[in-house]
């Protein structure tokens, strides 16, 4: 059964973007060969990408016109994608399905695949999926910077979740990838 994996880069103060939407300058501190390889590896084995509206719109705008991103761009544009939104009326990005409700059912269908699916960014949708207990693995690259402001990856309005550490990976540039499984006892 495929897992739903959260994959994000996060600052030491817990932000996944700066104070402005799509301010991702801090990614440059850790982006490099190692993360590119890891991204490609993840995308190669990916069933679908799952997005909330805001992240979807930004990603679609970026990747459909991306230059110099090589293999990653190819994957991003070709992989099946689902965007959960009640307000979008269409989703033009290649191989995207717009879903308006029944989040749990859609995710259950995804998990019938042998391959894992991934959710990037999408903090609101992530919070919903966490509440529903649908995220199986958290894969967070901790970036060695305190940003001083931004959008928190994890919202502080939820129940405590106990996790199980799977592995740590230290990147040459100081990023640390922490992998956790959801604890089924939660």
């Amino acid at each position: 059964m495929g897992k739903l994996v959260m994959w994000n880069l996060m600052t030491l103060d817990g932000y996944f973007e700066g104070t402005k939407k799509w301010d991702l300058d801090f990614h440059n501190k850790v982006w490099g060969d190692e993360l590119e390889q890891l991204s490609i590896e993840q995308l190669r084995q990916c069933n679908s990408l799952v997005f909330g509206r805001v992240t979807f719109e930004g990603m679609a705008a970026y990747w459909t016109t991306a230059t110099g991103e090589g293999e990653v761009a190819g994957f991003m544009n070709s992989i099946p994608k689902i965007v959960f939104s009640r307000t979008l009326t269409k989703a033009d990005w290649n191989n995207t399905r717009l879903v308006k409700d029944n989040i749990a059912g859609e995710i259950a269908t995804l998990k019938q695949s042998k391959k894992d699916s991934y959710i990037f960014g999408s903090a609101d949708l992530s919070a919903t999926l966490m509440k529903l207990g649908l995220i199986d693995e958290y894969r967070i690259c901790v970036v060695p910077v305190v940003l001083g402001g931004g959008t928190p990856l994890f919202k502080l309005n939820s129940e405590q979740l106990k996790l199980q550490l799977l592995s740590t990976q230290v990147l040459k540039n100081g990023g640390v990838i922490l992998r956790y499984a959801s604890n089924t006892n939660n």
Binding site: D13, G14, G148, L163
Partner: protein
């Protein structure tokens, strides 16, 4: 020059709240080591009330496991400064009350010979972080998403680049992330 070091338990979502977390022997041994690398520990009123008389009693009665007792006796015996504008006296042994000029005190201590200066509470760490006065951070990331509580670095509104020194994994799934201040970029 002496270094100012801050070791703190946090969750994956950055919450620092002593009610979260896995306080096993390995964790206590780690904090004992951090305290032993210092010869003074500085914290505020809330932490004082949280820690005293609890740790003093454990140190006296040796009522816990060996590792926890050792932490207690190390903590009990290290010289401590409580920074508070409202406390009028402190009872814990080896403890001094400081009522103003924390920054000056830290600067003065840094000039004196000695081991590390340990910071033992979140509010003081935030104040000193903002001033760029913390040289090393030991973030003990617990395998928990807390969902609520005070966050480390709440109240920090400037950008601070840190350099990863090393990491360590505990059997409990706690991961220690050890960073030093990035001197070049932050000066």
């Amino acid at each position: 020059m002496r270094k100012v070091v801050f070791g703190i338990n946090i969750t994956l979502d950055g919450v620092c709240d002593y009610t979260n977390g896995i306080a096993d022997d390995e964790l206590h041994e780690y904090f004992t080591g951090l305290l032993r690398s210092a010869d003074i520990d500085i914290f505020g009123r809330n932490t004082y009330h949280l820690m005293y008389p609890y740790w003093h009693d454990v140190a006296m009665n040796k009522s816990e496991s060996k590792a926890v007792n050792e932490f207690a006796s190390t903590y009990d015996s290290i010289p401590k400064i409580v920074f508070s504008k409202t406390l009028t006296s402190v009872e814990w042994n080896n403890t001094t009350l400081l009522r103003s000029n924390l920054q000056e005190e830290i600067m003065k201590l840094k000039q004196q010979p000695g081991k590390n200066i340990s910071i033992g509470s979140l509010s003081i760490a935030a104040f000193l972080t903002q001033l760029g006065l913390i040289d090393e951070y030991y973030l003990l990331v617990h395998p928990i998403i807390a969902g609520k509580g005070p966050r480390l670095f709440d109240g920090i509104n400037n950008k601070i680049n840190l350099t990863l020194v090393d990491t360590k994994k505990f059997a409990s799934g706690v991961v220690v992330l050890h960073y030093i201040k990035n001197k070049k970029e932050n000066q």
